[in-house]
């Protein structure tokens, strides 16, 4: 009597699994697809496809009652060159640029201090930089509003001290918007700069000093050029969200400071001119792309 070798079910599963693993191991293409596939699919469905739709909208007409009428036009783009919208564009770029510069001026020395602190202090200091993220951004922005209001903490304090006679108008000004942007995005400047200073070889500072460089020269000719990658990364990380900021100018600008994202929001929700809103979205993307490329070009020019 021949006893058929019975394969237990769990062994069968193990065998299949081995077989599958074998196939994946042998086929590089399949492996790459499996690894990148889910993420790729996600991006395709929820990023590329919507962008394509928005891109298509941007060449359409506004139909009656705010619908999208499918007839090709470039009017949405030409319309942007109205001074009204150019101004919004300039204000956005200017406020984002200003915020980036302020973040850089504050963030660089801050990152330097952390990077040069004794090792046991460093992590604690980095946590301090990140603590604001534990609170919702919206809540923090409302907190700034409370500080800046006419009867807010700052004005009351200044009045009490007798420094001013009537409350300073601070809320709903470009100042408030820049303050909010700097406050919100400063960590994004500090962290990459910290990383590059932390990697920096400080014997180079001694070498420069040895060759007659004073503190100023050491900074400009050795430290800054060699930490430029961190400065560039930080600047991009601050500039991009700043130029497209929506909540900050909305709450702290109070409708008096209109940035591009507010314009887009307005076109989609209030004016219901989706095609023009789409066109402005693409202009914003173009600005971001141009700024990023410019920054990277700048970095290459320094041959770092």
């Amino acid at each position: 009597m021949v006893v058929a070798e019975r394969v237990r079910p769990d062994q069968q599963i193990l065998k299949w699994r081995e077989r599958i693993v074998e196939v994946i191991r042998q086929r590089e293409g399949l492996r790459a697809l499996l690894l990148a596939g889910p993420g790729g699919l996600w991006l395709l469905l929820f990023f590329l496809l919507p962008i394509a739709i928005v891109f298509a909208y941007s060449f359409a007409h506004r139909g009656p009652y705010g619908t999208v009428a499918w007839a090709f036009t470039i009017e949405n783009y030409t319309r942007f060159f109205d001074w009204l919208y150019i101004r919004v564009f300039l204000v956005s770029v200017w406020l984002a640029l200003l915020s980036t510069i302020i973040c850089l001026v504050i963030g660089y020395p801050f990152a330097y201090v952390i990077a040069r602190a004794p090792r046991r202090w460093r992590n604690a200091l980095l946590v301090l930089v990140l603590i604001p993220f534990w609170t919702n951004f919206l809540v923090r922005t409302y907190a700034i509003m409370l500080l800046l209001r006419a009867d807010g903490l700052i004005n009351n304090a200044l009045l009490w001290l007798g420094v001013i006679e009537r409350p300073l108008p601070m809320l709903f000004t470009p100042f408030a918007v820049v303050l909010g942007l700097v406050y919100g995005y400063l960590p994004f400047m500090i962290l990459p700069i910290y990383a590059s200073i932390e990697k920096f070889d400080f014997t180079l500072v001694e070498a420069a000093q040895d060759l007659g460089a004073n503190t100023w020269h050491v900074f400009w000719r050795v430290l800054l050029p060699l930490t430029l990658p961190g400065v560039l990364a930080g600047s991009i990380l601050v500039f991009i969200p700043s130029v497209g900021a929506f909540v900050t100018p909305d709450l702290l600008g109070g409708g008096k400071v209109v940035m591009i994202a507010n314009l887009i929001n307005q076109q989609f929700l209030t004016v219901r001119h989706w095609p023009f809103g789409s066109a402005v979205s693409f202009v914003l993307m173009a600005i971001v792309l141009a700024a990023t490329m410019l920054y990277f070009r700048l970095g290459e020019g320094r041959r770092v």
Binding site: E206, A213, L226, V304
Partner: protein, 394 residues
């Protein structure tokens, strides 16, 4: 070295730049003092005494080495001369002027760093020109001096390269050129050959020495490699645990070590323990543990009965079979190990139960044993010239 040092000029020497001539005939120790350390002490924040009351006088044009094991304070001493560390007490004088808290960029010294510390974002040219630009020297003079400096280290044609495109030896030369182009009074070198492989190291040792003779600048050289220090230096200060143990020429340091540490650290030594039994003029008799009385020359003889160590270098010991007619040796023993290394043979000879003596015997026909290796177990007699041994009380 002094004569060739001042006359072979490539525009970088002091005599050419500052018009100081007539120094050529002077021996190094007769020349003015460039760097003087007075009771220099450095105590770090954690209480570690890195440098302990170091006093040295380094003369113009000298190749002076600070030699010692890692952690002996040699690098800290160098960094205090450069101005990177401030002394806890004591004083650094450069050209007779107390440096106090003078920052590095106001001192007439330049440093060649252990890892070269070349600026990675600058070309070779910009690296070498850095110091001159800081001094706001006119552009065409910078170009001329950089060219000369690169010529001096044989790196013409590498101006546009970046440090990462150079080999270790080439980076080393750039570091030298970058320092020398400033025509410093003193060049400080912190283990500059430490990162190079052995062959390149040997080449660079000779090249450095040659370079130093060419430019005539005072070199203060930090190293833990005794052979390197012996090869290049005019004088050596041997350091240990923050203190200078002995200062002298390579010959003095090697032939007449003043302490057990120096005798052990520089080259190899046998240490034989014993007791002084007789004190004569410039000579003492020491009864070694195990019974052999030997007489050793000694400038400052210790008192009778003192426990001492007698140091003898392995290559100073003559070895012969005990029954040979010329075997009237100081010490008798038995061969325990024979190690043949081509040019020489090492013998390990047991003289008492506790003590073995290492002997290095050159393999030539003039050997007492007639060119035959002595087999293990051979009774031998050892002997050395009276001035080959040193009495050490420490």
């Amino acid at each position: 070295m002094s004569t060739s040092g001042i006359e072979l000029t490539v525009g970088l020497t002091r005599s050419a730049t500052q018009g100081e001539t007539g120094m050529g005939g002077m021996r190094p120790l007769e020349r003015p003092i460039d760097v003087e350390l007075v009771e220099l002490t450095k105590v770090f924040d954690n209480g570690v005494v890195a440098v302990d009351r170091v006093s040295l006088q380094i003369h113009q044009g000298e190749f002076f080495s600070l030699l010692g094991p890692s952690g002996c304070g040699k690098t800290t001493t160098l960094r205090m001369i450069a101005g990177f560390e401030h002394p806890t007490s004591g004083e650094v004088l450069i050209e007779g002027r107390p440096m106090g808290n003078t920052p590095p960029f106001r001192r007439n010294v330049n440093t060649v760093f252990q890892n070269y510390a070349l600026f990675p974002h600058m070309t070779v040219y910009d690296n070498v020109a850095f110091g001159l630009r800081m001094k706001r020297i006119p552009r065409d003079e910078i170009a001329r001096r950089v060219r000369e400096a690169l010529q001096l280290v044989r790196l013409q044609g590498f101006e546009e390269r970046y440090p990462r495109q150079l080999s270790g030896g080439q980076q080393q030369r750039v570091a030298l050129a970058r320092a020398l182009v400033n025509r410093p009074r003193v060049l400080l070198l912190d283990e500059p050959l430490g990162a190079l492989d052995l062959k390149l190291r040997k080449e660079m040792q000779l090249e450095l020495k040659h370079l130093q003779m060419t430019v005539g600048i005072t070199f203060i050289y930090v190293t833990h490699d005794q052979e390197e220090a012996l090869t290049m230096s005019d004088r050596i200060a041997v350091m240990n645990a923050g203190r200078v143990l002995q200062v002298g020429t390579p010959v003095e340091i090697y032939e007449r070590p003043s302490s057990r540490f120096v005798a052990d650290f520089i080259g190899e030594s046998n240490f034989l323990r014993g007791r002084v039994t007789e004190v004569g003029p410039g000579e003492v008799t020491v009864a070694l543990d195990g019974g052999f009385p030997i007489s050793v020359r000694c400038d400052q003889p210790p008192a009778r009965g003192t426990e001492v160590t007698v140091a003898v270098r392995p290559e100073k010991i003559r070895i012969a079979p005990a029954e040979a007619p010329e075997a009237n040796g100081l010490v008798r023993g038995r061969v325990e190990e024979v190690i043949y290394i081509g040019t020489d043979t090492f013998y390990v000879v047991r003289i008492t139960d506790e003590t073995v003596v290492r002997v290095r015997s050159q393999n030539d026909r003039n050997r007492l044993d007639g060119g035959q290796l002595l087999p293990v177990g051979t009774p031998v007699s050892l002997d050395w010239a009276p001035d080959a041994a040193r009495v050490l009380t420490e």
